[in-house]
Amino acid sequence: MKKVMWFLSVLFLIGTSNSAFAATSTTGTHGETLTVSKTSQISTGDALKISGVHFDQTVGIYVALCKVVPKGHLPTPCGGGIDKTGGTDSSMWISSNPPPYGIGLAKPYKLGGRFAISIKVSPMIGKLDCRKISCAIYVRADHTRGDDRTYDLKIPLMFKK
């Protein structure tokens, strides 16, 4: 019986280990789906492929690595901050109707409310260490709807210790 339990445990570990490397998705209340290419065993500088489909193109969003916060709270702090300059790869602004200063900085959605980006992540968000606290890839409505929490989505990440 012990051997059977050990075998099943090994199978379980193999299964969870494999699934941890698989893409992970979550769907929001508006029907939008967020997918992250890898959610565990993440190293500094890893470029995560993040994609979305069926997002509301009338609503701009930020995509970034942030500290996990209780549901309904503004996700903050986030790695690299809100990247209005578009100068880093640590966060991304997706919008098809940005304010005039955002034209050329924000990446527009594609048909079907789609986007596909790559974000380089680090376990450090300022002084916070995502190897010790819970962090996640977050999507939230951009600063033009800064208080709107209905577009928040998150997929937790696990960094290598």
Binding site: G31, Q57, T58, V59, N97, P108, G112
Partner: protein, 323 residues
Amino acid sequence: MIKSKFLIAFVGLAIATVSNAPIAQAAPTVQVQGGPYTGLDPAGADIHFGFGNFPTAHGLYILEAVKSADGTRPTIYNQATQVWVSTDSQAPAHPTGDVVLHVVGTFTGADCAKDTCGIFVRLDHTAPTDLSEDQFIPITFKAGVAGPALPADVISVKVNGASVPANVPGTLTYGSSAKFEVTTSSGGAVTFKAYGPACGLNGNVVTALTGTGQCDIGVTSAGGSTFAGATSHYPFILAQAKQTLTFSVKAVKVGKTISLPLKTNLGETISYTLMAKNTCTYSKTGSVVKGLRVGNCSLVATAAGMAGNYRELLVKISLPIKK
């Protein structure tokens, strides 16, 4: 305070389309209270409005106009300052807010020192032919003060190569674009503004970001030495796009294979279901159909829709299998 310069959409639509209809004889239901209506500065004055019995199903347009001689809806009105009052989230003025209309003593086609100017109230674009709330409230200006001397700039617009009048809604399907080409009498440059989030604006190209609702593009000329600045509005009714599947293969030979498209025109992944296995096979990998024997190969193609933008795809495909 909601300023009248934030005009959105559709003002003038019904004026253009039903301009010969007489103003309703029955008393309007909506009560318009405002002022001042007399002794106004012809160089520019603000009139504030409040409403009683505001319509529940429609909004109102409030505009400065010249009373028509035959009792029909006015055809001469101040295009630069009009207000759309509605509970619609995209309306610039809410019926319970401070609704302000800016009026002037002279505007294109009108001199209020000679013409009977006033405030014209009517139902908005959701009820363009309904005259039941039409009403005209006369206004007067102070004498002896010079009004604006320059005529408003004339803005001419082509959208995707075709001339379009201001204030008359066009249609834009989800994901499609409209390219604006603008000329003005002043010869000056223009600026564009998309009112509301439903349309994206990149330079002079407008793209529908949703398949429902409406958006309004404002085109503003700063004017010049001979023309005063002006703004014209080009509203769009947004419509859902049609999701389609396109492939050109008309038949498959026995023993041969073809690949079916993997995506629809809107980028959705297509799933195929083989309806009968006696004439062909279908392999999900590469979406490949192979002819087995002469007859018809029937498949059903489906793809997800997106609420408000396009419906799901459901297409039956019949591929002849030939020798």
